[in-house]
């Protein structure tokens, strides 16, 4: 049975995680078998006892004869309960342990996988894997798996007994097993496909839920709650249909697992009666046959449930490993170059970057050097590749061509940890975590570990960073720097969040600082204050500042102009303003100046940029 084997092969991948728990699992299995044995034995023992010793004792009016049978039944009963207790207690630890191990392994892997992976994978799909699928696996490990084995053992042993004791009747009963097996086999193939579909759809539904919550402001601002509900309903309805289809499948198998053995028994009943009437089988033998089949039928019916549970678990395993086996293209090298203290010399050599699924590169043959201690502003239009370039320096993305060197060493030959200790970034979307202001600002200042920073120094950096980023507002928060912010705490305005993100990058004291449009949400006065202080801090730190405005450019010693993924000019702000038309176009705010410039460039440049011209027309209209 190829499909069963592949389910087995699929689930076997769990073995390394389950191995430490094996003794307990086996112990649990033995207790489970023991318990069902005791459960099966009790009625038999009762019957034998009552009809044998008890009846004899009654005839002799010997009350003492009652003691042994009662104690025996009591003992068996207590043993059954004890074994059930033992089984549950044996498997619950490994069950939850394996679940927790798998969860942590997945979490670790997800944190290791590059940002590009997370851009591609919707959050809900990951969430449904780490919660729903792993919960399913836990339940299967502590219940389904044992149940499956116990059922199969019971059935095999029972059928063996039937064949050994009941001859023809046993063969007839066994014949009934053929259609059952065929149906179960076909069921599992179909069910697996639907189970996968249903788990994927519930992942998609979780994604929609997540987006509807994260995008609540937009939905509210446009009054689109209704539409969101409608499309959510469509999706939920689709899931419902899949689930009902799944249940339909299960219904078919439930029907056959119950109906076929019973119909076989009807045949056996007639045949047995005839055989008994002809004296080919004793009445006692017939009774024993039906008692045994009654024992087997229970597990056969349960098999439908345990089988679907197993298939669901298999799907969960598949979905788990789908993520776990995604290779990390951004892994640490096998023999990394040690880089304990970076000086901060960054060089991009012939760098090309193309997103995996896109035909056109975002960065093309970029050569850019950031000398130690200098501040370079990166200026370009929206979509020219500035943020991508900023991601390449801390190796959030890997270049697809060329190389990025830190102190002369290719980033890919260093540990990611070392690269990111050397390079700190303030992103254009400031992400704050649900933690205190202190923890958010000191995010890049380790408290423990090999490069831990002493408490006093941490404190100093916190205050300096807050001061430089003009984030003095934190002192006015209910609990100062201890105030919890982020999603689970106080909500801050965009400007406040941006200043904290900036403070975070400063506090990390990196050799290289990358600031992606760090002042966009600040008002003019604050911006000016930040700029003044930031200049002092940046002194001596290699910095790359993405800038949209002259006020931000003012931080820099020199400016690099990025146009359509290429560096077209490098120079000082003043020089570029005088010589570079595109730069003027991008950075100049004074309309008439800019129009003059545009005319200028028409005269000077033999080939004015097309989009620029288009936009000039647009403006002049």
């Amino acid at each position: 049975m190829g499909s069963e084997l592949s389910t087995f092969a699929s689930v076997r991948r769990l073995y390394p995680y389950v191995r430490p728990a094996m003794p307990r699992m086996v112990g649990g299995l033995i207790s489970a078998l023991g318990a069902s044995l005791a459960a099966l034995a009790i009625p038999r023992v009762l019957q034998t006892l009552v009809e044998g010793p008890l009846a004899e004792g009654a005839a002799a009016h010997d009350l003492g004869a009652l003691v042994v049978p009662v104690l025996l039944v009591l003992g068996l009963g207590v043993a059954e309960a004890g074994l059930v207790l033992l089984r549950r207690n044996l498997v619950m630890y490994p069950g939850t342990r394996v679940e927790a191990e798998l969860r942590m392994a997945l979490f670790r892997h997800l944190q290791d996988l590059p940002v590009a992976f997370h851009d591609r994978w919707p959050g809900g799909q990951l969430l449904s894997r780490i919660m729903g699928d792993l919960g399913l696996l836990r339940r299967w490990l502590v219940f389904g798996l044992l149940q499956l084995i116990v059922s199969i053992v019971t059935i095999v042993v029972g059928v063996g007994i039937l064949l050994a004791t009941a001859g023809w009747l046993g063969l007839v009963y066994l014949a009934g097993a053929i259609p059952v097996t065929v149906i179960a086999f076909r069921f599992s193939r179909r069910y697996r496909v639907i189970a996968r579909l249903s788990q994927d759809q519930s992942g998609d539904l979780a994604t929609t839920v997540e987006e509807s919550v994260h995008g609540i402001r937009v939905l509210k601002a446009f009054g689109r709650g209704r539409d969101a509900l409608d499309s959510f309903t469509d999706q939920a309805e689709e899931l419902r249909r899949t689930e009902i289809r799944k249940a339909g499948n299960q219904a078919t198998v439930t029907t056959s697992l119950q109906l076929i053995p019973e119909v076989t028994l009807a045949v056996c009943l007639v045949l047995g009666t005839v055989l008994a009437a002809q004296g080919q089988i004793t009445v006692g033998g017939l009774v024993a046959f039906f008692l045994t089949t009654a024992v087997i039928n229970g597990p056969v019916v349960d098999l439908g449930m345990t089988l679907s549970m197993t298939l669901n678990a298999r799907t969960a395993v598949d979905r788990f490993f789908e993520v776990m086996e995604t290779p990390n293209p951004l892994a640490d090298p096998a023999d990394p170059v040690d880089a304990p203290d970076a000086r901060g010399h960054v060089e991009l050599r012939d760098v090309t970057f193309r997103y995996e699924d896109s035909a056109r590169p975002v960065l093309e043959h970029v050569d850019l050097e950031l000398p130690v201690g200098t501040t370079t502003a990166l200026v370009g239009l929206t979509g020219s590749g500035k943020s991508t370039l900023a991601m390449v320096v801390p190796r959030i993305f890997d270049v697809t061509g060329g190389e990025v060197l830190l102190d002369g060493v290719d980033l890919r030959r260093m540990r990611r940890h070392d690269v990111r200790r050397a390079v700190a970034v303030a992103f254009e979307d400031p992400t704050l975590f649900s933690a205190s202001v202190r923890d958010n600002v000191l995010l890049g200042v380790p408290e423990s570990g090999p490069d831990a920073v002493p408490e006093a120094e941490r404190e100093r950096r916190l205050h300096e960073a807050v001061e430089v980023a003009q984030a003095g507002f934190v002192a006015d928060l209910p609990q100062g720097v201890e105030t919890r912010i982020g999603e689970e705490g106080l909500s801050l305005s965009g400007g406040q969040r941006q200043r904290l993100a900036l403070a975070r990058a400063i506090a990390a004291r990196p050799a290289v600082l990358v600031l992606d449009d760090p002042l966009s949400a600040l008002d003019v006065a604050t911006e000016e204050a930040v700029t003044t202080r930031l200049r002092e801090v940046l002194d001596g730190t290699t910095s790359l500042v993405i800038a949209h405005r002259p006020s931000t450019v003012a931080l820099a010693d020199r400016v690099a102009v990025l146009q359509d993924g290429r560096i077209t000019a490098v120079g000082t702000h003043r020089d570029l303003l005088a010589t570079d038309a595109h730069y003027r176009h991008v950075i100049s705010s004074l309309e008439q100046d800019w129009e003059e410039c545009a005319e200028h460039s028409d005269r000077e440049d033999s080939e004015p940029d097309q989009t620029e011209q288009a936009q000039t027309e647009e403006v002049q209209r």
Partner: protein
């Protein structure tokens, strides 16, 4: 009152000095230890919800019950028919009478077929009910979440709402899927068996009745303790989800600041808490179930002792004793399933407590029951002595009185915390004024239907959220069903058309997860296009251009000038470049308007604006 063995995890969520929070927020939601009255209240609230969901499906439930009864009868009939065959059909056949055999055989066949078909039909029916209930509840929670005011969303973590809509509903689904089958058929079997026993020998029946007392006590014990444990399980699972969602959303920052190990430690701690909670419930269940088995088995032994004694004293036939003992044994067999049901019932009610708690949240901004129709708003705004505070917090806007004539473009200027965004949120009715009224065309915004209000007033915020789907779908959010030409026109108007056409599939390009591939500036352009498409009478722009480059901003402004010529606009911007297109400038400070005039007037004066303007002019190149 039982307490969990572990103290509550030390989350600083307990004390919340933040005055924006309301009493029914996340911290209350995290409590697992409730006093008796509160516990009863949440429990009855969740049962009420379950009742509401099931009530409309009474017919379907009855049918499901009927199917279970019939299939159980089919199962029960089997052994009876077998005994009939052995007792009568065999002797009759020996006498040459085939009729009994034919009768019994065909009865068995019918019972097998009907029983099997009903069992399958029940699985289908149960799934239909379960999925119907789930769809209902999913829609309800989703709709309610959308209805809840921003105030709520700012305090109730997104991860928590997500967990309400995913893992909590999953717990309910387990109950509906599996639990119901178990409970109906178990109860049926127990009822039949109990009745048969009483009819056969009422004294043995009494043993059974007495055994129910400890069973009931055990169940009470289980109920009490499991309530707390299951609450804890729901809470820890929600925390785990919150942490997961937050980490995955902020992956860039996590990796850039090398927080992987710290986050992993945090997540690991929460995962252990969740594991402990699961262990607690499983451990409890692992004692409850064997306890029930033990009670059943002891009852059998007691019945054997008493029955045996009666046999000795001649009061009972041995044959009757055998039958009675088998009945007692069989009576307790389904109790395990009943225990399973009760277990999933407890788990589901704990989840429903959370869900019903979310549903019980009252939106603070509610739609009027009898709205005033405003199909064509002109856009005249009036703030009539408006006072605003968040909850019981300090007053943010004290007595603001302001009239904005239709068609006017007003710029709001002032430092962070001056109340600009609050004013915007009042006009868009994200919040309601604490005192006073906000009127649109003379109608209190609280009297407008959401449809009319959102058609008339649209806000674009700094956070430009993109939903997964194509660029087209994202723009069309402004006006669902808008033709392609309109969508393109909107994109052109804000200068987004070019970069959209540069994308691999143009307007059909998938923006991936949270617009991963689109820069912050481009995202703002897309959300601008949305607003253009929505074509409202009043447009509120809250820092909507902060990430645009200068040419982009200029383009948007030119677009705005045409767009805003005949509509009211409120523009909040830190950059005075945006203010230039305004007819009127309001400078705000501490919630009051301190300067009011045209940009030129104010610039010529010697106030706050004049100073800002001078600083800004200096920063230009």
């Amino acid at each position: 009152m039982s307490r969990p063995s572990k103290p509550e995890p030390s989350q600083p969520a307990t004390s919340r000095p933040d005055d924006r929070r309301r009493p029914t927020d996340a911290s209350a939601d995290d409590t697992t230890q409730l006093d008796a009255e509160a516990s009863r209240e949440v429990r009855s609230r969740s049962l009420r919800l379950l009742g509401e969901l099931l009530r409309p499906r009474r017919g379907a439930l009855a049918l499901a019950g009927l199917l279970v009864v019939v299939s159980t009868l089919g199962q029960v009939a089997g052994p009876w028919l077998v005994s009939l065959a052995i007792d009568s059909a065999v002797p009759d056949l020996m006498d040459g009478d085939v009729d009994t055999l034919v009768l019994v055989g065909s009865a068995y066949l019918v019972a097998a077929v009907v029983g099997g078909l009903c069992a399958g039909a029940y699985v289908r029916q149960a799934a239909r009910i379960a999925q119907g209930v789930l769809l209902d509840l999913r829609r309800r929670v989703f709709r309610h979440t959308q209805l809840l005011s921003l105030e709520f969303h700012e305090s109730y973590t997104s991860g928590r709402i997500i967990s309400r809509q995913t893992s909590d509903l999953e717990a309910l689904r387990e109950l509906l899927d599996g639990g119901l089958t178990g409970v109906v058929s178990s109860l049926m079997l127990m009822l039949f068996t109990g009745l048969s026993l009483f009819l056969l020998d009422w004294r043995s029946g009494l043993v059974l009745a007495v055994a129910l007392v400890p069973a009931w006590l055990l169940t009470r014990w289980f109920q009490k303790r499991s309530q707390v444990f299951y609450r804890e399980q729901r809470t820890t699972s929600a925390r785990l989800i919150v942490k997961f969602v937050e980490t995955m959303t902020g992956m860039r920052a996590v990796q850039a600041f090398r927080r992987e190990s710290t986050t992993e430690a945090d997540y690991g701690r929460l995962s252990e808490q969740y594991r402990d909670a699961n262990l607690n419930t499983m451990g409890l269940n692992g004692r409850y179930q064997p306890g029930l088995v033990l009670i059943g088995n002891v009852a059998v032994a007691v019945a054997l002792a008493l029955g045996g004694w009666r046999v000795y004293s001649g009061g009972l036939d041995v044959g009757v004793l055998v039958a009675a003992l088998l009945y007692v044994k069989r009576f307790f067999q389904p109790i395990q399933q009943l225990g399973n049901f009760y277990n999933s019932f407890q788990s589901a009610t704990a989840a429903l407590e959370k869900v019903s708690g979310l549903l019980a949240e009252e939106p603070t901004v509610v739609e009027p029951r009898r709205p005033v129709a405003l199909p064509h708003a002109r856009g005249a705004l009036r703030l009539d002595h408006v006072t605003f505070r968040y909850g019981d917090g300090p007053v943010v806007l004290p007595d603001l009185d302001l009239t904005l004539p239709a068609g006017q473009t007003v710029a709001l200027v002032g430092t962070t915390g001056a109340g600009k965004s609050t004013l915007a949120k009042l006009v868009t009715r994200f919040y309601d004024a604490s005192e006073g009224r906000v009127q649109l065309d003379g109608v209190d915004v609280r009297d407008l239907s959401t449809t009319d209000l959102r058609r008339a007033v649209v806000m674009v915020t700094q956070e430009a959220y993109l939903f997964s789907g194509s660029v087209r779908e994202n723009i069309a959010l402004g006006r669902p069903g808008a033709p392609q030409a309109d969508i393109e026109a909107a994109a052109r108007a804000v200068g987004a058309h070019e970069f959209i056409m540069d994308m691999p599939d143009g307007y059909d390009t998938d923006v991936n997860k949270r617009g991963g591939r689109v820069s912050a500036g481009q995202r703002q352009l897309l959300s601008f296009a949305r607003a253009f498409l929505a074509d409202p009478a009043v447009l509120v722009l809250d820092e909507a251009t902060s990430s645009l480059d200068i040419p982009g901003e200029r383009l948007v402004q030119h677009g705005l000038q045409t767009l805003l010529s005949d509509r009211t606009a409120i523009i909040i911007a830190h950059r005075l470049s945006t203010v230039a297109i305004a007819d009127r400038v309001l400078v705000m400070e501490h919630g009051r308007v301190i300067e009011d005039g045209t940009p030129d007037e104010l610039a010529a004066g010697d106030g706050h604006y004049a100073a800002l303007n001078a600083a800004w002019q200096d920063s230009l190149v």
